[in-house]
Symmetry: C2
Subunit: 198 residues, 2 copies
């Protein structure tokens, strides 16, 4: 049976609440496909849902390899394992890459909001040297500072994952649910769920 | 400078030792590419290195989707985040899928060894219903049992990941090292390492 609100979102909210005392409960692994045709996989931080929706936000550096990956192939799968409740969410969807050159004013506003929602300390890393490039040993200690009221720097990028498939697994109850979505005639997303063998 | 033994293996050993009191420290996320061209990502369990080598073993069910993925594209990337030591290993390589029909007697022996190294309880799941298929609600409680001395069942599959690139990140020291390998003229793997910006 179809439903307009994402039925897995409540399960994810419960898992986040149950595991909220653990720092790493907001960390998950984001898999993409590299331009070399190989899978890539790294840990990123959950930055919340987009207002009223089921889209998942991630902050990243424009200069990181994953941007190149997503330009080449916009699909990603999140694997989010909750170590206390033994629950896994595999969230597959399309990723919107929002950097400072985005032509959509609404998206630029979302990016700005994500920037100000992040800590001053985490903002500083976007001023650091190019991630993944060889590090220069005699690097001067990072003296850079940022005015807390100044907006996103050029390297700051917001990723928005739009899920269209979610696989939920509970290792305690041994329950597994496959959530799939389709667009209705109005372009609205409808979710279905089905119990599957773990 | 090239070296014959994998220099990241010691770092991984240290991380495993430091985090050994935590059940989930042997869990990591394995990313593959689905036959639909989208990334797939799931949590699996580290089953050790292959003797004297740097190849990583994983047990899985032949009927799981990842087998189909690997038949279509043999590359995978492991993302292994250690929650206590704040270390991440991203291990990219090629995966050998070893099921009961493998023509190589050495590989069949490795598969048998992996089967007997796993617990009797975990062996039982390979007798369960087809993973990912709709579950039948009125399922009889699983009464199946296995003779502890009987060898691997048909659904048991050993995956062997042969790494050729490792990205190490330490979030405490803010250190990142890129390990890359190449084959020498004798077909032996030589590893190089380079400090890169986190």
């Amino acid at each position: 049976m179809g439903t307009a609100t994402a039925p897995w979102k409540q399960l994810l909210h419960n898992a986040l609440q149950f595991n909220s005392n653990i720092k790493h409960s907001t960390y998950f692994q984001l898999a993409t496909i590299g331009s070399n045709g190989r899978p890539a996989n790294r840990t990123v931080v959950f930055r919340g849902f987009q207002e009223n929706g089921d889209k998942i936000q991630i902050n990243t550096d424009c200069r990181s390899r994953k941007i190149e990956d997503l330009m080449h192939c916009p699909f990603a799968e999140i694997c989010w394992y909750f170590t206390e409740s033994w629950e896994q969410f595999r969230i597959n969807g399309t990723v919107d890459v929002i950097d400072g050159s985005n032509p959509d004013p609404m998206k630029l506003q979302q990016r700005e909001k994500a920037w100000f929602a992040s800590s001053p300390k985490s903002r500083l890393q976007y001023l650091g040297p190019n991630p993944g490039l060889p590090s220069i040993s005699e690097q001067p200690s990072q003296e850079s500072s940022l005015n807390p009221s100044s907006g996103p720097v050029g390297a700051f990028c917001l990723l928005v994952v739009d899920p269209d498939q979610v696989d939920y697994l509970n290792l305690k109850s041994n329950e597994r649910i496959a959530f799939t979505s389709r667009q209705d005639t109005n372009g609205e997303k409808l979710w279905n769920s089905e119990g599957v063998n773990p």
